[in-house]
Symmetry: D2
Subunit: 180 residues, 4 copies
Amino acid sequence: MTAIAPELAVSQWFNSPRPLSLAALRGKVIVLHAFQMLCPGCVAHALPQAERLHRLFNHRSDVAVVGLHTVFEHHAAMTPVSLEAFIHEYRLTFPIGVDEASNGNPIPVTMRRFGMRGTPTTIIIDQAGCIVEHAFGKVDDLALGVLIGSLTARAATSKVPESAADCADGVCPAPAGNAA
Amino acid sequence: MTAIAPELAVSQWFNSPRPLSLAALRGKVIVLHAFQMLCPGCVAHALPQAERLHRLFNHRSDVAVVGLHTVFEHHAAMTPVSLEAFIHEYRLTFPIGVDEASNGNPIPVTMRRFGMRGTPTTIIIDQAGCIVEHAFGKVDDLALGVLIGSLTARAATSKVPESAADCADGVCPAPAGNAA
Amino acid sequence: MTAIAPELAVSQWFNSPRPLSLAALRGKVIVLHAFQMLCPGCVAHALPQAERLHRLFNHRSDVAVVGLHTVFEHHAAMTPVSLEAFIHEYRLTFPIGVDEASNGNPIPVTMRRFGMRGTPTTIIIDQAGCIVEHAFGKVDDLALGVLIGSLTARAATSKVPESAADCADGVCPAPAGNAA
Amino acid sequence: MTAIAPELAVSQWFNSPRPLSLAALRGKVIVLHAFQMLCPGCVAHALPQAERLHRLFNHRSDVAVVGLHTVFEHHAAMTPVSLEAFIHEYRLTFPIGVDEASNGNPIPVTMRRFGMRGTPTTIIIDQAGCIVEHAFGKVDDLALGVLIGSLTARAATSKVPESAADCADGVCPAPAGNAA
């Protein structure tokens, strides 16, 4: 059990000229939105929220919104070809990675690493790489804004933990296991 | 130009034990909902409206709600395999047919026959087979209810045109052509 | 117990050049919307629905939407002076009557006559003066539209009961008494 | 022109055992929500947002949500008697003050002091008493959360300006005057 965010495993990226990694984004607050394109709660709430967040921080360099297509059911129905059309039709503009398929397990690699319980899942990673929020289901806009605002302000005043070794276990909620 | 509803051309049915046809439904008011599973307006408004209509009339025999998956773009992204998962995840319970693909034309057969301009399209067909409403885009619940209610009441008082030959051209809006 | 609509008792009218009565509206379908200006469910759902209905039928002579301000609590907070500003700010355009205060009873006269249980209450009266729907709380747009549409169509085919004596008890739900 | 928040002038408080003042709240982030009970935008958006903010921070001592009933029209329709019933019916639980009436001016005293342009108006005051946001109309939940979160984090790392004299004019938007 750890509060340090594991790395992404992504087989294909959309809306990004090059592959992204959490390591390369270190120093920013990262909002990781895991979704499935045929998940009604993702389409109605989580994806519009991620898009709004992306547009709110698009002109700033301290917050990165990253989407992750974590297909764990109906795999043949949600291929990258379908996802690409979905991204186009829903006008999503933030970077979205396809979570790498697992060998012999319906749950893809990154989803297992983070112990996500389903979709939508919203994970907030601070500038040092610590997971400070791991939420399954609908997340309130106001509460999410307050958390991200407080993390970015902390950075501006250099109270950011210098390395993941500083992650306080008491502060970081342990991700619930999906018993991989 | 005609106000008589052409027949459906469907390659596969979901939520129906057997193929449906407008001919076999003659005598009922038919609400035909044409959609694409990756059309945001369909997902947000038209499909929930069709589902509510279906549940409202489920115990009555005088109104039939029929869905039609009219894929005219992103064909590889919206195959029947994807549609099946979509229907499952969105808990749609009304019969849905896959509009038959056209040879050498991205617009499928039924969509062309009706001259639909896009999705969502809502078409109301009266008991004699006349098209009495052909709407592209969002349809108001109250206005739709008033129209269907007035058609069903007409039936109950035997003012239903006995055959499509009775379709009054003045009453039936001519469908706008998509210039097939 | 009766299904014949009792007459309105109104002390003041807004949005109407002259007093209205159910008797004078006989022959139309009447949608009676009882509300209080400080009732959250009325403000969020019932009043916008009544306004939409009014605009939908504004050009027709067969349906009349009538509002009724049935103040049964916080009387000093919801005087006609406050109601007038409320009607102005919420851009309500249908006729609205102030239900006549009762002597020694917080429930006003019309509200008692109809046995309304609270606000919002929606009552549908057919062309012969029979109560065909009496609903407390939120009413679904589609279902309301279907009911009104079927009543107006019935009129057009002269199946309207000629007098209230024809009200079928089996069809008309008896209003729940508020034990006046 | 100044960015220092002027003091409130309140004739009556609801939801507070004693009168509040900005001076007494110094050291907290203050969210001042100015509204009128018959303002549709306030009822639909701003007041629910203020209530959600209040509940979000209710267990913390670093943020205070304060409502202000700034009646500048329909004065007879929005007396404290009506406001009290409104607060009760809409289940508002944050402190709400009645903005003091002006002599010979329809705009009340605090509204004039802050140069508010109408309702709803949302004003954010930082721990040193500087106005850091002055918004007329609908405010986005995410953006509001980010701002409040960043202000509270700043406090936690003692970057709070020690006195209003430190208010940076470049940072604090000057309130638009209503030409008092």
